[in-house]
Symmetry: D2
Subunit: 284 residues, 4 copies
Amino acid sequence: MYAITLVIQCPDKKGIIADVTSFVYQQKGNIQYIDQYVDRENGAFFMRLQAELDEELCTYNSFVALFEDDLAKTYTMEWSHQHVDYKPKMAVFVSKYDHCLYDLLGRYKSGELDVTIPFILSNHADLAPIAKAFEIPFLHIPVTPDTKAKATQQQLEHLQQHDIDFVVLARYMQIIPEELIKVYKNRIINIHHSFLPAFPGAKPYHSAFERGVKIIGATSHYVTEELDAGPIIEQGVAQVSHNHSVSQLIAKGRDLEKMVLANAVKHHVAKKVMVYGNKTVIFT
Amino acid sequence: MYAITLVIQCPDKKGIIADVTSFVYQQKGNIQYIDQYVDRENGAFFMRLQAELDEELCTYNSFVALFEDDLAKTYTMEWSHQHVDYKPKMAVFVSKYDHCLYDLLGRYKSGELDVTIPFILSNHADLAPIAKAFEIPFLHIPVTPDTKAKATQQQLEHLQQHDIDFVVLARYMQIIPEELIKVYKNRIINIHHSFLPAFPGAKPYHSAFERGVKIIGATSHYVTEELDAGPIIEQGVAQVSHNHSVSQLIAKGRDLEKMVLANAVKHHVAKKVMVYGNKTVIFT
Amino acid sequence: MYAITLVIQCPDKKGIIADVTSFVYQQKGNIQYIDQYVDRENGAFFMRLQAELDEELCTYNSFVALFEDDLAKTYTMEWSHQHVDYKPKMAVFVSKYDHCLYDLLGRYKSGELDVTIPFILSNHADLAPIAKAFEIPFLHIPVTPDTKAKATQQQLEHLQQHDIDFVVLARYMQIIPEELIKVYKNRIINIHHSFLPAFPGAKPYHSAFERGVKIIGATSHYVTEELDAGPIIEQGVAQVSHNHSVSQLIAKGRDLEKMVLANAVKHHVAKKVMVYGNKTVIFT
Amino acid sequence: MYAITLVIQCPDKKGIIADVTSFVYQQKGNIQYIDQYVDRENGAFFMRLQAELDEELCTYNSFVALFEDDLAKTYTMEWSHQHVDYKPKMAVFVSKYDHCLYDLLGRYKSGELDVTIPFILSNHADLAPIAKAFEIPFLHIPVTPDTKAKATQQQLEHLQQHDIDFVVLARYMQIIPEELIKVYKNRIINIHHSFLPAFPGAKPYHSAFERGVKIIGATSHYVTEELDAGPIIEQGVAQVSHNHSVSQLIAKGRDLEKMVLANAVKHHVAKKVMVYGNKTVIFT
């Protein structure tokens, strides 16, 4: 017995749910979870389905091949699949801030994140001791205006050599080059300290303090070529008051960033995030 | 064209989703929403489905009859159905507190609640002017130990005479008699100011103040014979501090009660609440 | 015996707290609450103090006069005072949306808002029946480009004739003219459906839907000449998902707007809001 | 220049705020923060005050001695003081769960917690590698019914030998013996996964699942002799649904426990928590 997760999007059509569920049933499979959503304005259909099948009656590979030949073509689906037991390979990019890294690694060691972490990559050497303490290889690839192109090349090589499935930017303070974004489309997760109302620019917590906001927030999103404008995966907020100094705002913000990023990673790992246009459907 | 909502629970079995969705497809229907949940420990299957059908190809009544004969029997389903355009008839029971009543009536007048309100019923006359201001009939049925049996009889008559679908206890400070609970099983919604940790008894806000809690809560649930122990529909919480006096706790609690009760009513009206054992599945 | 609330801001100086508290003590007063805050970056001092005094030992008027002559001058204070039993006169401006109006009037009737409401004013006649149901005078002053100047004049006259203390814009869909803003500086409270990130423009919920945000928010602020940019009094947020249609976002937004506006009004009435620069100190 | 924090509670009396603030002023001090609260029902007064003083005009020790002789006696105060730069010595007790330990140590390394951690103590050896990775001594003191008395003795010795200021039970699954509670009254902080309504007993998340709650919570409190009934320092909650399995509830609970415990520790370290009766005043 094995379990497979299917994630599907396609133009909405009558009968699609019946066809997909019947297909699984014909392969002697049992549907364990099904989530479905239709964006009526855009006529777009979304489905996430987990089914249990018997290797002897229909192997994983033949299930996938049959589905592709049969339904995927009929409905012009964009779809992907994953073995439920598969642990995605996650690379973590960091700079000097350590709070998100500690949080992710703590969750990883606790068994809360169903991933493997082949390496941590940084443009600075500062966090190498943390990687060492958690026994994860640490790659130091400095990035300067001069070395940027070469650094990108090195990053790509490491990612491909380790067959990385997705990248988490745990407060990696560098702009991701287009080459990487193209190869890892909707597979690079960033955490951004955005506010209500949003404060762009270099010092958002200082702006928030000046404006006297009563709530701060953080947003995790996929990286696209437009800075901080990619599809939103998760958002979180916290109440603050005039009484919070800038440094207290930053401390509250760190907690938000940790929580929001961890939840975004969990959604991604469970293949619960579907991107379309510049937004997401998340089957939680 | 018409739309129907089906709400189903039954023992979990292979192929059930495929069978239900294919059935709809065979009647030339289009599934607009499908939500499904399996409680694996108890082997229980739950589904809420909304489909659009063509009156000329399959009338509402024949759809329902076919479904009953075919699938409902095969899978020993407990199921119910509702025309999407149907506005349930809601009776509101109150005593002297007016905040939940104002909130519900404001939402009703704004068109936010898809119901009709044939009457407001109370054991006191105090809130009659509110009913009048909102142009809704007000029934005053006093309840004393002596008149309790007769009052119950009168309540039942009014409920049945107006063909009431469900009852909302908007801070009705009387215990609901068994006769009513039996007739309106999982159709009487109560709002309860419960706390973290829970404070039973007559003055929960005073207990919460004494205990120095930092969070208060409210719970909306279906009424069962065991007091305040019925299936939970919705819960809400708010942060408080030592600085809140008992009366400020009560004011915060009122806001929670309004919000939590309104959400519970909306879930119920949309047939999104399924009860099993002493808990609920809510497809939001 | 009477109780007085003092609200003070001035440049921060050594000894100021000691001086103020000693002054109260010298008038045989007893301090019931004291809240204090210093913005160190700007060297600004803020205090809210409630004291109980004996009319026979020091009248309200003589207390105020002594304080003005003595401390207020020494420390170049901006300060104000209010009798604790005083009920501020609140005017409510509305257009066609009724949810905030129902909410405020419900709270008012419940005794939750310590105000009087001399009138409700609108540029449309639609909500007159609500005012009537709650037995509050309703003024219909249409506003067109041609009549705008005259309408402003009428509004001012009504406000001054009724000695209004502050104005609540309960979804009043008109820009407030400068003349009113000047006369009622930091005394006109607006509710704004702002988002994370902020969506300016006419249809914020549609923008939020397009962007796929996971959290929506509302902000209550004092009206200044720059649109929606005045000092923030209160903010609230709610979680949403891809599953919320635009109309469901709007419904969630209505609940936020009601709650956030009501809290802002309560803070203002209790003289807990102090404005400086473009931000607020709120002693909750 | 130095800064001192005073934390005071005593019976409420007229003039006390004026007396305390004047005292600081007479020692040429400048009050930086003042927070005050009166429990009117119990006639109890609470104050937290931070002042900056000049070592040459009034040493720390003489300030403390003068205050004790003068005000503390006059008002029969219970009071304590702390140098603002002092880093309290915190011992961490753990068993086998590692999530709170990772969280605390991550915050400690990030400089977010203003403490030193002389040792981590456990009744099991499992978490020794984490202590090693963070370079903190790890004491393994097994506890069995037979060795309990001796273990308590050893614990006390270590605590006193390292001059520990307070103890954090980061999911330490043992009942704390009375001897320790007495010595470290209101200085042992526990984290408890309590629910709404509260579920006592060994498997609260299973009970919560059975009951179908929509919100789970966690509570941090000081340890008293009555189990899980000590003064509450901090509480947090999270929304859940029928869709959360027991293990997902537990994962959500872990995040709550981490956040709530960390906040409780921060409040304690900043001397912002005052205990009276069985409740707390927290000046945040």
